[in-house]
Each structure stands twice: as C-alpha cells, then as structure tokens.
Symmetry: D2
Subunit: 316 residues, 4 copies
Amino acid sequence: MKPEIAKLGHVALVTSDLNKSLFFFKEVIGLEETEEVNGVHYLRAYSDFQHHTLSLEAGEEGYVKHIGWRTKTANCVESFKEILEKHEVAFEEYPKGTTVGIGDSIRFKMPSGHTFELYYDVEKPKATNGNASVLKNQVYQSWRKGISPRRFDHVNIHTSTDVNASYEFLMDVLGFNMREYMRGDDGILAAWLSVTSLVHDVALLKKDTLPTPARLHHISYWLDDSQDILRAADILKENGLQFIGPGKHGATQAIYLYVIDPGSGCRVELFSGGYQIFEPDWEPIEWTLEERSSCNTYWGDTVQDKELNNLTIEVR
Amino acid sequence: MKPEIAKLGHVALVTSDLNKSLFFFKEVIGLEETEEVNGVHYLRAYSDFQHHTLSLEAGEEGYVKHIGWRTKTANCVESFKEILEKHEVAFEEYPKGTTVGIGDSIRFKMPSGHTFELYYDVEKPKATNGNASVLKNQVYQSWRKGISPRRFDHVNIHTSTDVNASYEFLMDVLGFNMREYMRGDDGILAAWLSVTSLVHDVALLKKDTLPTPARLHHISYWLDDSQDILRAADILKENGLQFIGPGKHGATQAIYLYVIDPGSGCRVELFSGGYQIFEPDWEPIEWTLEERSSCNTYWGDTVQDKELNNLTIEVR
Amino acid sequence: MKPEIAKLGHVALVTSDLNKSLFFFKEVIGLEETEEVNGVHYLRAYSDFQHHTLSLEAGEEGYVKHIGWRTKTANCVESFKEILEKHEVAFEEYPKGTTVGIGDSIRFKMPSGHTFELYYDVEKPKATNGNASVLKNQVYQSWRKGISPRRFDHVNIHTSTDVNASYEFLMDVLGFNMREYMRGDDGILAAWLSVTSLVHDVALLKKDTLPTPARLHHISYWLDDSQDILRAADILKENGLQFIGPGKHGATQAIYLYVIDPGSGCRVELFSGGYQIFEPDWEPIEWTLEERSSCNTYWGDTVQDKELNNLTIEVR
Amino acid sequence: MKPEIAKLGHVALVTSDLNKSLFFFKEVIGLEETEEVNGVHYLRAYSDFQHHTLSLEAGEEGYVKHIGWRTKTANCVESFKEILEKHEVAFEEYPKGTTVGIGDSIRFKMPSGHTFELYYDVEKPKATNGNASVLKNQVYQSWRKGISPRRFDHVNIHTSTDVNASYEFLMDVLGFNMREYMRGDDGILAAWLSVTSLVHDVALLKKDTLPTPARLHHISYWLDDSQDILRAADILKENGLQFIGPGKHGATQAIYLYVIDPGSGCRVELFSGGYQIFEPDWEPIEWTLEERSSCNTYWGDTVQDKELNNLTIEVR
C-alpha cells in the first residue's frame, strides 16, 4: 500500500535576529510558545494540535532548515524510505527527539533542492500558564494577543531548477494532488498541490532568477473570517510593518495579506476564506499567462510587480 | 483494500408543498437549480461541484428518501457491496441515471434505519443562464440571491434504535472517524463523525421518543464568514421565518443558525467557522452530560429546550 | 438661545472590588487607563477623545455617582443653570478638577432620581506609554488587548418614579430628541432619546419594582463591526464570564451583547451596527406591547425573561 | 439665528446611457427605486428615509445637475436666502415639486462652481411592492439585491478654482465644520467637512488640471460592516466592473472601494467603518504632503497614481 502524507507539519526557521523574530511571531502574529529548549523556541497557533508548527532559533542569517510533513501512519515513514531508495533519493534518518516534540524522521532533498522531513509521531502538549482554552477541542484561548491565527496552513516555495521534476516527485512519490496551476509558454510555472482537502498544502513556483536554487516565499497561517485579515492589517500598521494586501487570490480564492518577519526575512501570509476540494476526481484548474493577473489577485492590493514580493529566503 | 467514502453527496427530499420549498431553497437560502427533470428539482450551492446536493420533489408529506455519499473510486462501490454482503446488510442496486446526474449506486438501510446511497460517478455540469462565476474554480456567482451558502456541509440524523450499532457500522463498515461525542449514563448519546477533515459529515443522535426510528434533524450548508450567518438572520426575518441562532456550538466550534423549510419541514443549518482535523490519530473529544449545554451552545441563542428544535422528518 | 448638550461624557462608577473591576474593564473589555489619581482610575476606549468616559474607584458597594454630559459651549453650562433655576431644580456647582480632566460642572437630580452632571471643558490627553496610534485621528492603538471597543456610546437607566416627568425633562429642559419608544397600557414604558445622530445617547425605562428609584441597567461601548461582537463572545467565554447575546435589537437595530462587571455589578453592553438619524423632523418610532419581543430582540439570544437581565445598580 | 444644514440630501445625476446606469445602480449597487416620473428615476438606499438620494435621467453626457442639502428647519431656507444675498451670491428659487419629493428650494453656485441646492421639506414615502422591511425603523428590506448599502453618506468634489474661497464659504456661510485637511506647500489641498457627526458630508479637493472648474469625484453609500465591502468586491467582479480597493483611508479611517457607473461615469464609493466626531471643539486633523500616502490609503489597494482615480464628471 502506498504511503501517504497526512498534513503539513512544521517549518524549522533560523533567524539572524532572534529577539525581533520572537516579538514578530509571538506578539504581532500572536503564536503561542509551547516551550523553549536549548535556545530553540517552539511555536504554534492557538488551534495547532501538534507540538509546534514553527521552530525559531538564532543563526547567522535567515533561512529554513527543513519543511516537515506528518505521515498518515508510522508505517508510512518506513514505506517512504523504500520508495525513496527505489527513486535513488538519498535520505538521512533522525531518531525521535532530534527535533523536540517530533518522533523518528527522515530528511531528503526534493529535486527542487528543498529539504523535506517526514515523520509520524508527534507530541501534542496541552497549553500551559493558564492559557488553555475552556473549549475541549481547542488548545489555547483564541484572541489572546496579536493577530491570533487559528492554524498553520501551507508553504509556498520557489525553485530555479527544472520545476517539472518536482511536480512529478510531489505527485508520484509523495502522493500530492495537483489542484490548480498556471501554464506558461514552456510548461507549468506555478502549481498548488495538496494531500488534504485544502487547495494547497504546498505551492511550488518556477523562478529563473533566485539567489540559490531552493527558496521559501512564505509560510501561511489561517484565520476563520475575512474580517480578521482587515484586523490584522490594523495591527501590522500599528507595529510599523509594511505588507501587501488585503486582497483575494483567484487561485484558491483565499483572502490574503503578506508581511515579512523583520528578524529572519521569512514572509508570513495571513489567510482566510478559499474553498475546499472533497471531490476525489478533481480536474486541476488551469490558468494561462493571460489570466496571470487575476490568478494572483482577483481583487485588492496586488502582489504582482512589487519589490517586496520578490524577497525569499533559502531552504537548505 | 478497504473501500472509502470521499464525501457527503446529496439528500433526496420530498415535500408536501413544492412551491413553498422551491421558494425557500432557491430564493431564501439561495441555492441554484441545475435542472428540473420530471418534476424533480436538482439544487446545489454556488460552489457545489457535483450535479446537485439536494433534490426536491412533491409528495404527500415531507421526508427524505435517502442520503447519498460519494465514494473515492468506482471500485469502492463494488467493494462496499462485498462488505455489506459479508455483514448481511441487504442493498439494492440502481443503474446510472436513476437519480439524474448520478451513476450506478447502491442503497441500503443503516442499523439506525436511515437509507444511505453510495455511488462514485457524478456529473459536474457548469452553470447555465449566464450565472457562471468569472472564477474558474467556482461554479456559480456567489451572492446572486438570498443567503447564498458556499457548499453542502453535513447531515444530522436521529434514531430511536440502539445507536451503538450504528456508530460501529459507520466506523467499521463505512470507514467514518469518530471526532467528538457526548457520553450519557448509558453510553454515547450523540456523535460527530467524518470521512473528511471536517469535524463531521454526519452527526448521529440517540432519541428515545421519535415518531419513527430513523429521522433527519437537519441538513447543513456552509458559508465562508461568521458575519454571513448574521446577514442570514436578517434575510430570514424579512421572509417571516422563525429560526434558532445565531450561536456557537461547543462541539465543532461552528457558528450556527437553524431554520425550517416551511414546505417539507426539513431543517437547514447555516454554518460557518469551526475547525478541521488533519491529524491522522485524532483522539475523539468526549463531552459529559454535565457539559451538554456548552457542547450544544458555547454561546448565543441556545438550541436546547426549544420546541422548534424537536421537529424532525422521516428518513425512509 | 437654548443651551445644548453635545454628547454623553462619562460615568463615575464605584465598585466594591476594584481589582476585579480593573481587570474586567482594562483586560477583558480592553479600555485604556488615562491615569490614576488618588485611587480613582480614569478609563476610556481607544478612540474616546476626552480624558475619560469611565472612572472607577473603590467603595462599599457598586453604584454610579453621576452620569456626565458635555455641552456644546461653555456658555451652555451657564444657560442650563438659569433653566434649572427656572424649573426649580436644585443643582450644585463643582469647580474645574473636582473630577480629574473635567472643567467647571453642575450636578442635579433628574425627576427620575438619577444624578446628571453637565460641563463643557475637558482635557484631551494623548496616549502614553507608547500606546498611541500611528493614526493621527485616533488616540490609542486599536486591538491592543481584550475586546477593544472604539468609543463610549450610551447609558440605559431605569426608574420607578413617574417616567413621563423624566421624558419631558429630557426633551424640554435638556433638549433630547425622542427617537423610538414602547407604549404600554398606561403610557410610555421605554424610550430611546438622543442629542446626537445616534438613535440614543440615553434609554430610560419605567420599572415599578426597583430596589431604589434610580438605577443603571447598563453602559455601552461601541465596536465597528458586528463580527467584533462575536469575537467579544469568545473572549468573555475564555474569561469565564456569563453574558446575554449576541442578538439584534429591533429598536436601534444594533447588534448587542451584555456582560456584567463582576466587581461593581455594572452591566456593559457591547454594541455595533444600528442606524443613524440625520433627518431634522424624525417621527419617533412607536412599538406596542404586542411588539415588545421584537423591539427588544429582533433576532438572537433574547434579553427578555432572563434573570441576568434584571440586575441593576443604583445611580445616586 | 444662523441657519443650519442638517444633512446631505441628494445628487441629481444625468447619464448618457440610462439603461446601463439603472442596471448599475439598481441591480449591482442595489438601490431601490422610489418611483419614476417623466423619465427621471428616483433612487435610494434601503435605509434612506427621504424620497430619494439619487435621481437618474438621460442626457447627452454624464454630469451632475446639482447637489442637494436638507436644512434643519423650513426657516433655514429663508435665512440662507438672506445670507446669500448679503454675500452677493445669486440664487434661483424653485417651487415644491420641481424635483419630485422635494419642497421649495434654492440653488446657487459655490465659489468652486458646483451647484448646491437647499431645501427643508421632503417626502418620506414608504416602500412599495412588498419590499418594505418588517423593521419599523427601516424603509426597505436589506440585502434584497446587489451590494445593498444602508444609506447615502457623502460627496467628494474637485475644483480648479481658488479652493480657499470655497472652504471659507462652506464654513462661514453654510456652517460646515472642518474635520481633517491636507496641507500642501501653498495651502490646503483637500479637506473633509461636515455638518453632522460624520467626519465628512463633503470633501473638497483642489486640482489644477480639470476639464471644467467644478467636478464630482464620487458619491458615497455606506454599509454597516467592513466585510460588506469585501462582499461588494466579489459582486463587482462578477459584473465585470473594475474598481479600486478595498483599502482603508487614513483620513476618516473608513474602509473603501471605488467603482464607476459605466453609464454616467459617476464614481461610487462603497464605505464602511470610520469614526464619528461628537466633540463640539474638534481640532481639525492636519496631514502634510509627506503624509499624503497614508492619508489617502492607510492600508490596502491604493487610490494614488491610478488612472482610474483621475476620472471626474462635471457638476454644472
């Protein structure tokens, strides 16, 4: 039986200014800190159930160490090893606890150069410090501080390598479904893929001019209501942070706002609305170059042709 | 390989006052009519991708003929036949087109007495009459009339039979996951189960006093934003319709509003917010009798102890 | 020229548990503290322009010392003195600074027994502690903590005296306009009156059974969006506070939620939506006893017949 | 006693394509038609209490005949005549019914060249055709069609004449209060003025290059919630209409969206949020040229440097 990925797990982020990043993610975005171990801060949104969805640690520059994915069963990790071997993709094994809160894992490089991590076991600690929700099905109180998103949603990554190899790898090896894509003159330029009913757990874009082959454009946290994105805009302005948005994407139909962590350079998308795909025979939506503008921005403050939109950080 | 259900498909509703029901579902709720064939009206929300999620036809009284579920593959229908035979559950086979827009199907009675239908093939017609959305990933224009929900969400059914047999059947035979439940003195009284990442595609409740063993409490349509539920309240008032809500459930965390179709007696829940379950090892949330009130209504206009909340219609 | 009141100014509240009240008003409701002088805490919402709209001090029980109103000019205070004398209403004069931030004032008892204060001069201090908004037309940052209402809106007071004398006094002496009222068998039972374009700056209700003749039912703070009231409900639940709402009033059309300060017993209404009256010849809206229910609650969690709704505190 | 204006009344709009304009204003914006008399269509929002706030008639090109203002009393119109004579401003008198639904009026040209009309008497017809609200304090049902704004809010006009003369005229002769303004190198370039508690009933801007001296940039209709502006964006996109927004102004703090009537070329601003000024001694907010960008657009899709933002129509 083919192994399956259940969901996006976490991103391991390094920042050149830990204090700035901690303020940004904890006080402005409003993530909660599960714990800090050996200088690594493990953060999550108020309704993220696993130990953390973002880890934050100091380094010489801002970059992502790896992007973690949770499999459907423990056996899936074993099966993925076999499949990777068959595809001659090298991987490294990490015992439980290498990353705090996360079980045995493997890491490998995507054809695009991004390091992915796969694991099944996660800790699901309760909230501490009196910050637990009175709701039994929610970890922390919502609206405790800052923007207060509900949960980690997706990652958007860029590559200057042959992107088709990575689309195929995502679909054939990792089991992702293509949901929407933009076709350029020489093939697909951008694609939204998912293992869940979300339109995308990962978006992968081809960019010919990148400082390094594998980059992260943004990580995304989800909020329940589109008005929450407008409230986020107010909060970001009061904190002196520039952003792009609010607007509504054509692809995914989501309401968006993009802001960059001043510590690490990691862009965060605040995200609401959109649609879900429960049909098992979804026909991927094709956008043409002529439709690029409305694919990116159906309405609102456009992401296109903005210098701020070009910044990315390395995924090692 | 175990067959799987992909999603809730549709409900086949009979109404004793077709005109009233058509006005309610098309003008007040704002569903679109895909087509009318032989007196049966096939309706769906603006972003329901399959042919219909509700069929409406005239009859002597309001009741549900069956609740349809779409499987993950065509083979799944075949496999479900084998499994039902093994469990000695009688089923009937219906060729493609018995229900307009739906392929080969089987129907059988749940232990609770509700008729379920399973099928894979569905037609996915585009919008007609100039009502198509300019968005490539949306069927109809949103906000065209009435409340305008995005998509069909779930069904809530009641039984006076031994409910545990049905919980087991849903999980063991049909592959549902238990997400939340309320435990009474003699076992589970209510449970929210899903095959998707939604907290529930079906809720099943035990009620000792029902006119017939298998009843429908409500069908539910989903809206993107919690404010849409407040707007719905305004629209229902202007149409002279009584309702319960708005409020927020403890279980599922969803914002709700309940209104009854004056034609069929079928209750519709307008639904937003809530959370999703992507974790593959979800531990079902247990609510006790002492927590019943906050499980039902975390805040807002309570559903409990309201006469209007007791009405149900038969599922044959 | 007839003197005029410009707006509701402030309420001077005494609490039997200052710490509880401070936590409630500053951390849960999210008011800002302008300053604390001699044990009196001066609070306001993020966009209240005058020194304070609520003062909070310790006392043996919860009650309101007086309700303050700002006049249109300094001369108006003088003219009101003459008018009060003409109507043989006793008043006391208080020099500037008797209440911190407020200029020369007079206080008198309404026929209903409530003490009103009139003044023109107010201080308009800027925000301190780095909490000022980057917006030039806003005092504090919004969304800094708790529910975060924009501004003080109105007071709702009850009397067991002959209420008609007070309605006449409000209109003939103080210049209020009747906007909406509910007529009972023996005259008006409730009325919404304003000097501004708001439907009411004050609501005055007749209740035969009150512990003392002059009571306060609630003070109200305004939020920009109806979704903010739903967010407030979430925040109150996490703080273990009971409330009535959300719902929508028929009279005023506002979205509401009522919660009681556990320190003073003073009820706070969180308020959004509604309509404004710019027409100079507004015909007051009459509600009959038969319409009482929809006048109170157009939809949502009803205020009627709830024990929690009967609590009031004395206005001395 | 100085005469006073109570509120903005209506705009008399001429369109070169009546059918397009009627579709735009009635079906897309969602205004209601009070009546049509001799080819003139009288429109208003669902909670506009006077006969109409917009009249629409066919003509050779799109332009505004005049901007109507309602006075506080009938005597005010007489007093304004005296004042205009004193200021040597010519006016014409029109008997009741010249404009359907409006009483005796005078019209005169502002120094800026815009024709203003003053009147007191208005008809306040109820809704017809079963479209009346069940709410006693609301004219039509809300959400009946299109975007469905609540009420007429303000006008934004431009002039190439000496704008200071008009600011003085608005304040000294007509009694407007300066609320916010932008100061350029040679004086005020833009100002927001009101007779109500709204930040502006009229905005007047200096533009050196205009096709004619007196132009209208937009009329504005108000919606209760900021999410309604996002819903409006969806509706406009489905109708193939380009727009600027959503965004939030620094001045007024309102959430905005601008769309142009394809028939007349008249821009409509859909408007929510913002703040109100109840203080009688409001100090106008000054914005400098350096702050121009945030004064115009605090966040969101910017109005600045967009060709679409430069279109205006003549006010005769």
